[in-house]
Structure formats: C-alpha cells, structure tokens
C-alpha cells in the first residue's frame, strides 16, 4: 500500500487548495491509475476544509466511481476530518451519473 503523508505539506490545518491539487495530480491519481491501494495519512492534521478535501479526492471518485473507496483509505483522521471526508464522498457519489 502506498501511503501519502499530508501534514508535511498541509500543516495542521489542511486548507491550501494548491497543495491539494499538487498531491492529487502528482501522487494520488497516478497511484490510483496504476491500480495501487493508497492511504491518505492525516496524522498531525487537526482540521481540514471541505474545499481542501474536495480538491484532494473528488477527482478520484469522479474517475473511478464509488468503488475507489475500496482502495483509497483515510488514516488517522480525527472526528471533524472524518466527517468532512464523509460529506465529500457522499455528495460525490450522490452526484455520479449511473455507470460513473
């Protein structure tokens, strides 16, 4: 499993969407496209905005569908971060057209 540690790049408050884009484009999507299992490691991240989480993972859900959550894992998330990830994964899956 490939682990992407966030805190070195995001700090304790993950809100920088430029950082989210870089993580998505340079690390997350290439790993998922290779069929790898990926863990996003939120150790040390106290808070994240919905915009950050969306910019980080929505493309993965769009491209691979809800099934990507079988191999995209979220490690060491506190409760608010878990809930924000839950909101983003839920509205993305609600909005996916059949077959997406």
């Amino acid at each position: 499993m490939r682990t992407i540690r966030l805190v070195e790049k995001t700090g304790a408050f993950a809100e920088n969407k430029d950082v989210a884009r870089a993580l998505r484009v340079d690390e997350l999507m290439p790993a998922l496209e290779r069929g790898e299992e990926v863990a996003l490691d939120f150790t040390g991240v106290d808070a994240a905005t919905q915009s950050f989480v969306h910019a980080l993972i929505s493309e993965a859900l769009r491209r691979f569908g809800g099934g990507v959550l079988d191999r995209l894992l979220f490690k060491s998330c506190n409760e608010p971060v878990r809930k924000i990830i839950g909101i983003v994964t839920e509205y993305m899956q609600e909005g996916l057209a059949p077959g997406e």
Partner: protein, 319 residues
C-alpha cells in the same frame, strides 16, 4: 466614490450604510465620518479599504475625523493600508484588544501566513480558532479563485468582549458573484446569483453535479450554515443585491439548502458594489460543536443533491 462612516454599522443595521455609498466617479474616494462616534463592523473597514486600493492614494481624501473613537481606524490599519496619512495619534499603552488588522491576501502563501500569524491574535480556544480559521480560509479562497480581483481579498476581524463574539469582514473588488456564477448559470439579477451561490453544490465553474476537481460550490453554504447554526448574522453583498441571514429565534435552527428558506432579509437596487463583500458574526459562547455542525451540513447537502437530481428525472406521461 464617496463613503460615509456612520456612528454605528454592524450587520444588523448595515443597510443604511450600504445605501449611502456612492460608487460614482471611481477614480476618487472621499471618506467622511460621523463627528461624534464611530463603531463599525470589520466588513465596513474591509469595504473602505478595498475601495481605496482601487484609487491612487493622492486621489483619496479623508475629511478630518473628529469622533472620539477615530483611533480605532488607525489601530485597524486603515490609513496604513491605503497609503494615506492621518493626523490621529494613538498612545502606545492603549490596549490592543483582540483583533486582526486590515490585511490583504493575494496568494495562497499570503493566506497561509495569515492563518498562522493573525488568527492567534484573537486568543481563541482551539475549537473556536478552528471555526474562525475555516471561515477565513474558505472566504479567502473564494476571492483568490473566483473574483479575478487585482487587489486580492481585504479582511479584518474583531473580538467583542461584551457579546463574546468575533466579527469578520472580507471584501474584494473583483467581478462579483453574478459574473462568476454566470460562467455556468444564467442568473438574471445579482440577487438571484447570490441565491445560487449560497446553495450547496452550485459553482460558477461547472453545472456538473459534484463540481470540478478543484471546486464543489460549497464554501459559502458552509459559512452560512456555521452562522445559521450559531444563530448569528451573515451578510453577502455583491452588485446591487444584499442577502442577510438573520438571527434565528429557534434554539436549534434548521439548515436549508435554499437561502431564501432561511430567516433572512434581502434587498436589490443598492449602490452597485463591483465585487463581493461578506460579513459574519460568530458568537463564541454558543458556537455549536464543529462536529455537530458537520452532521447537519451533511444531511442538508445530501438532500439538496438528491432534489436536484430528482428534478432532472424524466416524468412519465399518462394518457
């Protein structure tokens, strides 16, 4: 342009201040103020600064301020940010209070620095700091990504001991909500654009459900929800339209996907603001747990997406 700083302009009574703003002659700015007292919301200071940044300093005139509270404008950095002098002196030993002075944010790096250096000035509890940081970040990103503002975002905040609340104002002189939303929608009025922008999942970057890879169209909905759950004011002003979320009398206000279903006031035909202004009050001793807030947002957001998808279903025809 002419702007008058009244003796009182907070979100609850900001409408007369907005109606008194004169946006004509955009090459000059004349600032006048009440002679006796000045007590204004940070959104008012952000607006004045944002306007001033569009004008050469030599074309800004500020009539001599007589109000006893005029030093507040100096402490918040109004004259320094605009590059104009004031004849107001402040004593070094005057208490600084808990405030974030007027700050410009033009890049994500400036926003990160702001978050790290300025928010601690408010001396908040971690949970409260998280909420304020969340609001500032989402509002500033909106400006950076959607406003097209040459001068970036102008923001400031103030802690009010009596009400134990933080008041935040952010203004830009960019393209405004309607032009931004109408990259994907066709709002006919500024007010309709505000209504769309406050709905979850509506973004000017696409009509596609779920947004783009970089934008979901949820930031303003989240912030309105934070204010709503906490029974606080939230104001957004763009073009000639104003939307104001009013304090809810309910102990546990419900969140609504359509901002017009919230307890609110709205106005059209105001002096045109070329850009966007957002003001929010967050009362700290009634700040709902962030986690509980997210539960409420999740349900409202999900239902809004379902409603939109349902509206697109083809209907059976019965003959």
């Amino acid at each position: 342009m002419k702007i008058y700083i009244p003796n009182s302009a907070f979100l609850g009574n900001i409408d007369p201040f907005l109606r008194g703003f004169d946006p004509s002659d955009p090459g000059t700015l004349e600032i006048t103020a009440n002679e006796k007292w000045i007590a204004v919301h940070p959104a008012v200071l952000s607006m004045i600064t944002a306007l001033g940044l569009t004008v050469k300093p030599e074309n800004i005139s500020c009539r001599k301020l007589e109000a006893r509270s005029r030093h507040y404008l100096v402490r918040m950095g109004l004259f320094r940010t605009l590059g104009i002098s004031s004849d107001i002196s402040i004593m070094e030993h005057e208490p600084a209070g808990r405030f974030i002075p007027i700050t410009r944010i033009r890049t994500s790096e400036e926003l990160s620095n702001f978050k790290n250096e300025m928010i601690p000035l408010l001396h908040l509890e971690p949970e409260q700091s998280r909420t304020i940081g969340y609001i500032v970040s989402e509002l500033a990103w909106n400006v950076l990504e959607h406003s097209g503002s040459e001068h970036g975002a102008v923001l400031c905040a103030q802690y009010y001991k009596k009400s134990n609340s933080i008041r935040i104002g952010i203004a830009d002189t960019g393209i405004g909500i309607r032009a931004s939303i109408n990259n994907s929608y066709s709002a006919e009025t500024d007010l309709e654009a505000l209504r769309l922008a406050l709905k979850p999942g509506i973004t000017g970057t696409t009509r596609r459900e779920g947004g783009t890879e970089q934008n979901a169209g949820a930031g303003l909905f989240f912030i309105k929800s934070i204010a709503g759950i906490n029974r606080d004011f939230f104001v957004i002003y763009s073009g000639d339209a104003l939307y104001k979320l009013l304090k809810s009398p309910a102990a546990r206000p419900r969140l609504h996907a359509d901002p017009f279903d919230d307890r609110h006031s709205r106005a059209e035909g105001l002096p045109r603001w070329s850009g966007t202004v957002v003001g929010a009050d967050i009362t700290l001793d009634q700040t709902a747990g962030f986690s509980a807030l997210l539960d409420a947002i999740r349900v409202t957001y999900r239902d809004a997406v379902r409603e939109r998808l349902k509206a697109r279903y083809r209907k059976p025809r019965f003959i």
